[in-house]
Symmetry: C2
Subunit: 222 residues, 2 copies
DNA sequence: GCATTCAAAATTGTCGACAATTTGGGTTAT
DNA sequence: ATAACCCAAATTGTCGACAATTTTGAATGC
């Protein structure tokens, strides 16, 4: 029971979802060229379908396309990471602010329960929290903003790119439990309906995460 | 010499630009259905071209598409206006913050000159300032952020929708000179390299603008 | 040996036709 | 009169073929 459900009704949808998944999970590597004919064979659909899928991937900044030349999966770089996370900080900060006033008591209660349920796995040093728990936490706050534009830009937009960086760089070590504590503080602010504080804490949280990833990316490059 | 130049290389580009222009300028009315065959005739291109153009318009939230049913130009409503302007406040606030540290002295100087050049037209009560001057001002700060993601999301993304609201609702009266003063304050903060203040002032400025438009939209509906 | 030129191959852009789905209207039964 | 059903018309989704552009690589000249 995923929190946000996209259902593929058309063949183009299926191909788009599959290709996006393959890019985010690095089955198709960053920087690699996306040949329309090759992908058409791989996914057993016509070129028109692949073209439409690539167009949609371009819209969410997962591929870059040049006219008459072709499309490439975006490359990962420290500069791009910073750009992306500045946008994320801005938008998710606003999401937390809005969530503090728009989430129902029930939704806040569920959010607290969610964190508690992950408490043990975090304490035991499992890095399981990262993948499932972290995106679940952020998604709930984004949806809690009740702002359709914001939700679309984050969930259908930049979040796949964010997950792409995460898959490439991993997310383990002491940062996991620190992030967990920050999540707790954010939920506390939302519980108190303190919109101002919720935004500030969310922005700080994302800035810390950015610094952590940037370090890893620089180490990986060097 | 436009500040941001999009050049149409392919037929799909041309049709996309033209259709976007027609939607923003209300040649094609909000809420109206976009028939693929009809548009193909109107712009003298094949249906495939129109489909691609519509897909791109969907990506920047100017049309909404349902599978097997079709695409409609988005409707304007107070709720949607608020959603849009909350996103705008968030992103342009960040843009102002980044511009305060990343704009060159020369760019800031040009920005001051731009405002001075419009001082007379504003004082004389011309509403000319709105269309050209206002977007010019905001574009310069967005570009001054030097953040590619932010620039793309604002200029290729939500700004056309923002202009659409503006065209529909007009932008005259006392708000114009007030906005001009706010612009001056923002530039002052950027000149002082005060990122924090630049962000706060930009967010306030956009909030005021939102309130002004919301009032007009509600009055128009009633 | 290296840069230039040119044609062939490969890739992307565009088109018209067919398939699948939705829409509209008329008929029928209750 | 209303609701359910069904068929025809219109609209969107998909496909394969052709056109335009870029890339490749071999031949040519210096």
């Amino acid at each position: 029971m995923p929190l946000v459900s996209e259902q593929a009704v058309t063949a183009s949808d299926k191909t788009f979802f599959q290709l996006r998944k393959d890019i985010v999970e690095a089955v198709v590597l960053p920087g690699s060229k996306l040949s329309e004919t090759e992908l058409a064979q791989r996914y057993a659909v016509s070129r028109a379908i692949v073209r439409e899928a690539i167009n949609r991937l371009e819209a969410c900044h997962l591929v870059e396309r040049k006219a008459n030349i072709g499309a490439r999966v975006v490359a990962l770089s420290p500069t791009r990471l910073v750009s992306l996370y500045q946008v994320r900080e801005s938008l998710e900060g606003m999401a937390a602010r809005l969530a503090a006033t728009h989430m129902t008591d029930g939704e806040i209660c569920d959010l607290n329960a969610l964190l508690d349920s992950y408490l043990q796995t975090v304490q035991s040093g499992e890095n399981y929290y990262q993948d499932a728990g972290d995106v679940d936490f952020h998604y709930r706050i984004i949806l809690g903003s009740k702002n359709d534009h914001l939700i679309a830009m984050l969930i259908e937009g930049i979040y796949h790119l964010i997950r792409m960086y995460r898959v490439q760089l991993g997310m383990t070590g002491p940062r996991v439990s620190a992030a967990f504590d920050e999540h707790k503080s954010i939920v506390r602010a939302i519980s108190n309906r303190d919109a101002e504080l919720a935004e500030i804490l969310m922005r700080r949280h994302i800035l810390y995460t950015r610094n952590n990833l940037e370090t890893k990316l620089l180490a990986q490059t060097a």
